[in-house]
Amino acid sequence: MTGRGLRRHLDDLVAGRRPRPFRATPDEADELRTAIELRAARPGADEPREGFVDGLHARLAAELGATGPAVVPPSTGAGSGPLRPVGRRRLLVQGAGLAAASAAAGVAVGHALTAPGDAADGSGTITPAAGVWQTVAATAELPEGAVQAFDLGTVAGFVHRVDGAVRAVSGSCTHQGCRLRLDTARNLDCPCHTTVFALSGALITHQLPVAPPPLPAFETREVDGAVQVYAPQA
């Protein structure tokens, strides 16, 4: 017999109310998933309310302070958690070759853009004074779109193939050197301060007062079915 918790949860679901929590067994979770799938399959069911889209937009605008002076909205609205005041914020655009494009598009820039390849802040390409070519993966292991972590002792990073070309970036955060890990969205996450980098090395998000520079790249080549990076010997 279906447990009372699940029955009540299903009644809420059908009535369009917020379903009440209950302690589900794995079987009940499977049954609930099927019921949810049926609910979601109704034509037009997943159409967001007009009021919701605009309401959340207004809430975010207040939160991000992008449409005028920073306003702290009362945290009484439906939804998750209290809002905290945040000053005027802008989205900066950064990445190889994007600096000029973003300037042309009139994107406001809060601090200097640093494109990969700019050696002034230590990012760009890693060029060891005495390096050797070292194999980090077999060509066969790295089809289009694949990513592999490598650790050569002296340096660690991630190698991937995009548009046929092999690229490798450092696996250490440019903030304080914590070891980055590959997440399910194929980005590189820093465990220390929730900074996120793209596999291109570009910074995606951070919560630091000053944006850390993008990840430096390694020189790469493919020789006789081996993917190699130029790095210091261990």
Partner: protein
């Protein structure tokens, strides 16, 4: 928007993705109040720290990763379960990619594989939004019988759903 381009500002991120994220959430939770709250949670979590954007594709990937984390928290709070039971990576990606036509086909396939009375009670309850009592009247059975039927039908449909992967 082409995934290689960049967003001009947070509003562009929001306008381009709010529909996508909401629909994914709705597909996962099947009700509006939760879908709205979870969508808000995703954008608040993503836009607060977001100052730099590499490309549309990377922002979307980050939205999706955040949505998955938010959903996992929702199921822990709601059912006391860890992620795996209700978060299916394949559907998460498929829905974010906006395959609006796919779920109904899959739903039809699941329903078609059920005995007629099982199919009927699930249609009455979850597609037509009948209460258990209303469904019982439509089926000509008692309310208690309708509850048992719903339970057995859902159980069977859940088993079928495992076999009918997208």
């Amino acid at each position: 928007m082409p995934t290689g381009e960049a967003y001009a500002d947070w509003e562009a991120v929001y306008r381009d993705n709010v529909d996508r994220v909401y629909r994914m959430m709705f597909a996962k939770v099947g009700n509006r109040p939760d879908a709205e709250d979870l969508t808000a949670e995703v954008f608040l979590a993503v836009l607060r720290p977001l100052r730099v954007s590499a490309s549309v594709g990377e922002v979307r990937a980050y939205l999706q990763a955040t949505a998955r984390t938010v959903l996992a928290g929702h199921w822990r709070r709601t059912l006391g379960l860890e992620v795996t039971t209700l978060d299916d990576e394949h559907t998460a990606i498929a829905v974010v990619e906006h395959t609006a036509a796919a779920p109904p086909n899959r739903t039809r396939a699941i329903l078609a594989a059920l005995p007629a009375n099982y199919r009927r009670i699930l249609e009455l309850r979850f597609l037509d939004s009948c209460s258990v009592a209303e469904a019982a009247v439509a089926l000509g059975v008692s309310t208690a019988n309708a509850k048992v039927l719903q339970h057995r039908a859902l159980r069977r449909a859940a088993q079928v759903a495992q076999e009918v992967r997208p």
